[in-house]
Each structure stands twice: as structure tokens, then as C-alpha cells.
Amino acid sequence: MNFLPHTERERAEMLKACGVKSVEELFAPIPEAVRLRRPLDLPGPLSEMELAGHLQALAGRNTPTNGLLSFLGAGAYEHYVPAAVGQLTGRAEFYTAYTPYQPEVSQGTLQAIYEFQSYVAALTGLDVANASLYDGATAVAEAAAMALAHTRRTEVLIGANVHPEYREVLKTYTRQWEVTVRELPAPEGALDPAAAAAQVSEQTAAVIVQNPNFFGLVEAGEELAQAAHAKGALLIVVANPVSLGLLEAPGAYGADLCVGEGQPLGNPLGFGGPYVGFMAARESLVRRMPGRIVGATVDRDGRRGFVLTLQTREQHIRREKATSNICSNEALCALAFTVHLSLLGPQGLKELAELCLQKAHYAADRLSALPGFKLAFPGPFFHEFVVRVPGPAEELAERLAARGILPGLPLGRFYPDLTDALLVCVTETKSKAAIDRLVEALAEEAKRA
């Protein structure tokens, strides 16, 4: 299969117009020393029918979560995505466009991003949002960079109960900067504001808190904000957008920056990507924001229109002095987020969050009633919780997987002291019957072990 329109006759005609005899002449500028003088060793070509068959066969070697019964969450959430989302993001004018460099023919993308920014600002209770970042993990690193630049300080504190992969990414980024990253312990799952306050110093640029945290627990946002602000540090909150249908807006309890993973709205699990990071901040931080920002303005005839704005922050103008290196971001994923949230509205988002909350609590109640099982942490939680199981969680999960059930994430891989614990997530996609099936299967397999 090829997607090339030229016929041989056309190629010949065009070569002639170029004044060359063969296409090889056009490659003359490449020194012979670096020419590849053998065919590439690749399979193919395949016709479209064969390609479709090949990929169907590969897909068939996977079992998607809808062929299993999955209680996995941990940063990637299975929600029902309304059919309208895909139909709209599948509009060719959206997905085959580039970054909107020519606003006059890109109002669709630009207005949608403006609406995305508006929604993110509304959800987080902050003033301004950008047009998206790569994902939740990199958004944390970008937020840390902003805080460091803004405060001109050299240290960042982050909860040990922030998503382990987010912490790893922060570590990778900050390793190159002359800064210290310290973790705030969370022995009871949630952070202790007093203990955190004791760690914040005049050198602290930011305190990074995930809320609900990686264990699903709700943090004492306001107290943590006070702890940070007391020493002039910023509070960066990492939030799940679905939880914000129910939970207080981070801006309302003192967050200066709120970032997070937008996947739960509108985006499929997709084996981890593409996802979409979001970022919102207080107005005063806007000129330090990474990535694209869209603003409303007027055209020559006075009609409203939208443009990429505050571009003097950006790499294509400021080069090494830019606030970030981000060029392409995750616009189409942000669009999916925007469409899904448009369908939900404030009431739908709240109902969705409540459904998750109720179902997760039902599951937690039932699981913790099983002999040998108990909740690992005492605090209030949203739609994920940690349950201690009898024996190694990894093995129990494997036995459940053999029965087509993924009971949650065994936490030993990230927390050596939690090898007997599962992180269980329950969303609206799980019926009571499905939860009951999980409970039964766990009870049986735990007994058997």
C-alpha cells in the first residue's frame, strides 16, 4: 500500500521541470560516505486488507479491560466515554490540522482550546489554564519548574503518596537542575500537615500534593496550603478532574497551581497514552506558564476570534529563554476532555463523581469485611482505596487474573512495605454484580492460598 499520487509519467515530467535526469541527482548533496546503499531491512509492504488483518491479530493477542473485569486505576481510569466524543474528535478538520498557527483558518481548534482552558480554570478554581501538557506526570515537573523560577528557590517538597511515576519524572527532570527534591512521608496514607509544615523552609519553592492522593485518600488541602504559604512556598495540587465534581476546587483551598491527568475525561486507556496534562494557575503566574495559551480577541471587522497568545513565553520566539520547550502538546486529547465535560456539565460531573464514590465505598465495605482483609489507611477516600490482603498481593492478583479479574494494583512494586496491599479503583463502569464478583473471587482465592 502506498499513499503516493505520482504516476511514472508525472515523475518524469516533474524531473524534467527540475532540470535533472533522475531522482538520484536530487540526492547528490548527500555525501557518498553516508549514503545507504542497501535496501532497508523492514517487512512489508502490506495491502490495506492485510494490514487490517495483521493489526487485528496483534490486538487479538491482548485482552482489553472490557474483556476482563478490571479494578485498576492508579493514574489511568476506565470511564464510559459517550459516543459523541469520538464522533466529534474524529472530524477530520480537527485531527488533521496542525497547531493553529494561522488563526483565520483555525478558529475551530482555537475556540475549543479556549473552552478547555475555561473548563480547567473552572474545575480547579484558578484563574488561568493553558492549552494542555503531555500528561499528568510531566505537568508536575513543569509546575515545579514554574515554582522554582517564580520563587527563585532551590527546593521542592513532594508527597511520598504522589503517583510514583510522577515522582520519578520529577526526579528525572530536576536531576539536571541545581535543586533538591524531598519527599514528605505519608505513613497513614495521607500527609500530615503539621509534619509537612515542619519540612517547609525558606528554600522551598513548592509543596506538591496529590489530592486525592495515589492511595485515593483525600488530603487536608487547606492546612497543607497554609503550611506552604507560611514560608512563601507555593502549593501545587495534582488533581483528578472527575473528583473535582465533588471535591473542593484546589484554588479555593489555597493551591497556587493545579495540574493533573486529563485522561479520565474523554480519553481511552490506550495502554497509557496519549493522555493529556492540564495546568491551571493564579493569574500572577501566567507569564511563566509552559506551552500554548489561547486568548480571545477581535478581528479587523470587530468580530470575536481566538489566537495563540502570550507567545513571547515560547521557544519559537524566546529560544533558550523560553518558559518551556513545549511545541506540540495534546490538543486532540484536550478536545476529547472538553467534549466529554461539555456533555456532563456541572451536574453530570457531580453525579459521575458520586457514582464512583458510592461504588468504591460499597466495594471497600465488602472487601474489608472479608477475613484477612482490611483497609490499609483510615482516611476518607474518593474512588480508590488500599486494601491489605492475606499474603502477597502480587500472587493473589495473578490468581485473580487467571479468572479474568484484575483486582487492582499490587503496591509492592512501588512501596516495599505494601507488598500485601492492593490499590483498588471502582468507577461507574462497575455494576454491583461486578463488584460482588470481585469480592467473591478474592474471598475464594484468599482461602485457597
Binding site: 500500500m1 502506498n2 499520487p5 515523475r11 532540470g19 536530487l26 548527500i30 545507504l36 535496501p39 509492504p45 490495506e48 494490514l51 496483534l58 490486538a59 493477542r61 482489553p64 485498576l72 489511568a76 476506565e78 464522533q87 466529534l88 474524529g90 480537527f94 488533521t96 490540522a97 496542525y98 497547531t99 494561522q102 483565520e104 478558529q107 475555561s118 489554564a129 506526570a137 528525572t172 527532570y173 539536571q176 537542575w177 483525600v218 465533588l246 473542593e248 481511552p268 486507556l269 495502554f271 497514552g273 493522555y275 495559551i293 480571545a296 477581535v298 478581528d299 479587523r300 521557544q315 529560544r319 523560553a322 520547550n325 486529547c333 467534549v339 495473578e398 461507574e428 455494576s431 454484580a433
Partner: protein, 485 residues
């Protein structure tokens, strides 16, 4: 033509959703969560119906221009046609429905795909291994620079090698990524032929140099003919050579960055490998490295063992992670599908036609515009609007006029080293007729610039909105909807 914001058609209580009824015993929310943790005010979101939402975004899309609408000769961006089959296979539940933490036994197809794609991209670039983790080109650059830093650090030269050299013609992400990675950026000027000035390079490179970042062909669409010498110079100083793969479309099957001496390469799957750009992403920016840098690659890497594929984390020298999970998998998947469809000879033909198209257009446009570096180009070339500027018509004006004539504009004012630059990349998926039509439009604009300059200066005339006040947008930022504004 304008579409109201959804906020502007919101009606309190209207709904566009349906959720299943709760089938578990319910508890009062206040018993499950502390009152303090609960939201006091509902978020300010519009309340609309499904048909409102569908019409809204359908009509918004109709204000957009995409590759499926017409020719998009955006230089450096490789806006080629995105095959429809790739979109279809990316929606298969066996891919789209996979959780990143599923047991490896349940995702063998996905891991096989990542493993095969890695091998293929290594073959195309001449590298030893590759990570799919970076989400875009710039993210790939950052990752590559982290790898370079780790390499020097491992050799005890981490503190010493703090400079990254970039040509003055380079893309803005190159210096920005270097800065974000903690390096000091040093700009290397181009010579009068548009190439890296070898003398100045020799002067700049030294024991404090971590790397030189290049794209080849460079942003003028010209192949760095001295690449072997450049590579020798950089390596002699103990520095590494970084390849910005944005321009790989020119040389597929013809030459490989690895063979040119590049140590680290990032690719833009959303350019060369035909995955769509989505109005600004998601992209995918895999990074390939030579053997010496393999130990530093982000975790996990996909390994093939006797029991199948696995995600390997046991890599003590790894830089860690640059993104959660394994990269933009569903984008990588489209690139894989594209590669399989096209095959090795097809891939070479891609570059041949891409280069042919660029040269054909260059020759056709030469009578009407200044061509600062007028010789055989690769997949793109740069015009200058300097002649038209004399009439008061700027490159921006001509770009806007193109919109009137049904084309997307080329990249403008880049590279920075060309005055009034128009950077044109037709790509291989455009037919001779399309190129001829574009050339005719450009010739018309050149004529208009002579004869009716105001027509061009006032352009666009036929777009959904006319020229927008960007200064006002920056001066009085209006970045979100606010009631009553």
C-alpha cells in the same frame, strides 16, 4: 459564521448526559467525605444538551483547515496525508482498551508491536535502541539531552560538559530543550551557503561541550554536506552529536543519522510517520541512541524473552522516566501501521517523491520570489519575501492571502536567518496538480503584490474571521470565559 461559546447557550438544568442509576446501597456523601473537602460551588461549566454539543463542535470543526481539506505546505512540519486505516486500527478495543498496568501476559500484542516498531525505527535511523516514551519532538529532545547528560556523568564529565551548541538556523525547541535540560546554549552561525560554519564550529566546540544539536537536512532544506567532518569535529572534542529528526522525511532509505555519526536521534512520528497532528498533538517523539547510550534509556524498555515480551525496569543506569507509562502508545501504533503498509521500498519512494515535489515547486516559484539558497533542496525549501517587501507587502500578508485562495500558508519567519522567510514543505502525498495549483496561487499573489498590494495587505478576505488583533490578545489577556465579560 461565528459559533457562540457553549457557555453562551447554556440553560440551567439542561443536560447532555445519562448515567446509570446507582445500584449499590447509597450512603450520604457527608458520611463518606468531610464537609470541608466538599466543593462549595459547582464548577462554572455550561449546561447543554447532546445536540447542542454535537452542533457546537461540528460547526467549530467547519471553521478549521486540515490536511483532509487541502494542501498544507507547512515547512518543517511534514503535513502529509494520514492514512485512514491507521485511525481505524487505533480504535480497536484490543489496543484502545488496555490499561497500562495490566499483567504482561494480557498485553503481548501491544508489547510485540512496541518491540517491532523499535526495531524498525532503529533500522531506519541506524541506531541501536529506541524509547517510545517521549510525547512529542521537543520532549524527545529533552529526553535525548538527559541521556547525553547521563552519558557524560557516567564518564565523570558531567560537571565539565555544560554547553550545548545549536546552529542559528535551528528550531526554537532545540535551544529551549537544552536550557530546560540544564545546559548552557551556544549558538553557531551558518555560513553563506546556509550550512554550519565549520570554522566557527571548531572554535566553539571543546571540552565543555556536551553536544551539538543538528537537523539534517537543515531547516533550509539543505543537506549538511560536511556532516562527516562535523561529526569528526564534535566527537574529537568528546562531545556527542544530536539529531533532530523533524526532517527525516527527506532521507528515508537514502541515508541514516546513525551512519552520519549521530549518537542520539529523536523522531517525530507525527511528521515522518504520517500520524495526524490533532490540531497540536498528540504526537510521539521516540528517541534512539547508539550502543554507548543504551544503558541510560528511560525505563521500562521492552525485552523479548523465551516466555514472550516484558517491560524491563532492571536498568540501574537509566535516567528514569520522562513520562508516565510507555509513551503515546496509540500514536506509535499508527506509525507502526504506516511502516508496515509502506514497506522498505515504499519508504524510499516517500523520500524521493518528497524531494522531487520540493524541487519541482522551488523551480516553479523561482520566477516570482527570491530564493536565498537556490540549489537542489531536499524535502523543503525557503523563499524570501524580500522582493515583495519593497512594495510594502510582507510575508505575513502573503501567507494570509494564500488562505483566501484555499491553501494553508507555509511556515513563515522561520528559519530566523532568512529575511521574510517562507518555508515550504509540500510532502510526498501531494499530486502534481496540487503543486501546480499552489504555484499558480503563489504567482498570483506575487502579481497582486505588484499590482494591487492592498489586496494582499488586507488579506484574508474570505476566511471565517479576518486578521485578528494579536497585540490586543497579549495586552489584555482574555484566557477563559467569564460571566458578563
Amino acid at each position: 459564521m461565528s459559533v457562540p461559546l457553549l457557555y453562551e447557550i447554556s440553560s440551567p438544568g439542561r443536560r447532555g448526559y445519562s448515567l446509570p442509576a446507582a445500584d449499590v446501597p447509597q450512603k450520604p456523601v457527608e458520611r463518606l467525605l468531610p464537609a470541608k473537602a466538599l466543593r462549595k460551588e459547582a464548577p462554572m461549566l455550561p449546561e447543554v444538551s447532546e445536540v447542542d454539543v454535537v452542533r457546537h463542535f461540528t460547526n467549530l470543526s467547519r471553521l478549521n483547515y486540515g490536511v483532509d481539506v487541502g494542501f498544507y505546505p507547512l515547512g518543517s512540519c511534514t503535513m502529509k496525508y494520514n492514512p485512514k486505516i491507521d485511525e481505524a486500527v487505533a480504535e480497536l478495543p484490543g489496543f484502545a482498551g488496555l490499561h497500562p498496568y495490566q499483567p504482561e501476559t494480557t498485553v503481548q500484542g501491544a508489547l510485540a508491536l512496541l518491540w517491532e516498531l523499535e526495531r524498525d525505527l532503529c533500522e531506519v535511523t541506524g541506531m541501536a535502541r529506541m524509547t517510545m516514551q517521549p510525547a512529542a519532538g521537543a520532549h524527545g529532545e529533552l529526553t535525548g539531552l538527559f541521556l547525553i547528560a547521563a552519558y557524560h556523568r557516567a564518564r565523570g564529565e558531567g560537571e565539565q560538559r555544560k554547553k550545548v551548541l545549536v546552529p542559528d538556523s535551528s528550531h526554537g525547541t532545540n535551544p529551549a530543550s537544552a536550557a530546560l535540560a540544564g545546559f548552557e546554549v551556544v549558538s553557531v552561525p551558518s555560513d553563506e551557503r546556509g550550512m554550519v560554519d565549520l570554522e566557527r564550529l571548531r572554535a566553539a566546540v571543546g571540552p565543555d561541550t556536551a553536544a551539538l544539536m543538528l537537523t539534517n537536512p537543515n531547516t533550509l532544506g539543505l543537506f549538511e554536506e560536511q556532516i562527516v567532518e562535523i561529526s569528526r569535529t564534535v566527537h574529537a572534542a568528546g562531545a556527542l552529536l544530536y539529531y533532530d529528526g523533524a526532517n527525516l522525511n527527506a532521507i528515508l532509505g537514502k541515508a541514516r543519522p546513525g551512519d552520519m555519526g549521530f549518537d542520539v536521534v529523536h523522531l517525530n512520528l507525527h511528521k515522518t510517520f504520517a500520524t495526524p497532528h490533532g490540531g497540536g498533538g498528540p504526537g510521539s517523539g521516540p528517541v534512539g541512541v547508539k550502543e554507548a547510550l543504551v544503558p541510560f534509556l528511560p525505563v521500562p524498555v521492552v525485552e523479548k524473552g523465551p516466555d514472550g515480551f516484558r517491560l524491563a525496569y532492571d536498568r540501574p543506569q537509566s535516567i528514569g522516566k520522562v513520562k508516565a507509562f510507555y509513551g503515546n502508545f496509540l500514536v506509535a501504533l499508527k506509525a507502526y501501521a504506516y511502516l508496515r503498509a509502506v514497506g522498505p521500498e515504499g519508504l524510499e519512494q516517500v523520500s524521493e517523491d518528497a524531494v522531487l515535489n520540493a524541487n519541482y515547486l522551488r523551480v516553479k516559484l523561482r520566477p516570482h520570489f527570491a530564493v536565498p539558497f537556490d540549489r537542489t533542496c531536499m524535502h523543503e525549501f525557503v523563499l524570501s519575501g524580500s522582493r515583495q517587501k519593497a512594495r510594502g507587502v510582507h510575508t505575513l500578508d502573503m501567507a494570509k492571502r494564500l488562505l483566501d485562495l484555499g491553501f494553508h500558508a507555509p511556515t513563515i519567519y522561520f528559519p530566523l536567518i532568512v529575511e521574510e522567510a517562507l518555508m515550504i514543505e509540500p510532502t510526498e502525498t501531494e499530486s502534481q496538480q496540487t503543486l501546480d495549483a499552489f504555484a499558480a496561487a503563489m504567482a498570483q499573489i506575487a502579481r497582486e503584490a505588484e499590482e494591487e498590494p492592498e489586496l494582499v495587505k488586507d488579506a484574508p478576505h474570505h476566511t471565517p474571521v479576518r486578521r485578528l488583533d494579536e497585540a490586543r490578545a497579549a495586552r489584555q489577556p482574555d484566557l477563559r470565559w467569564t460571566p458578563g465579560r
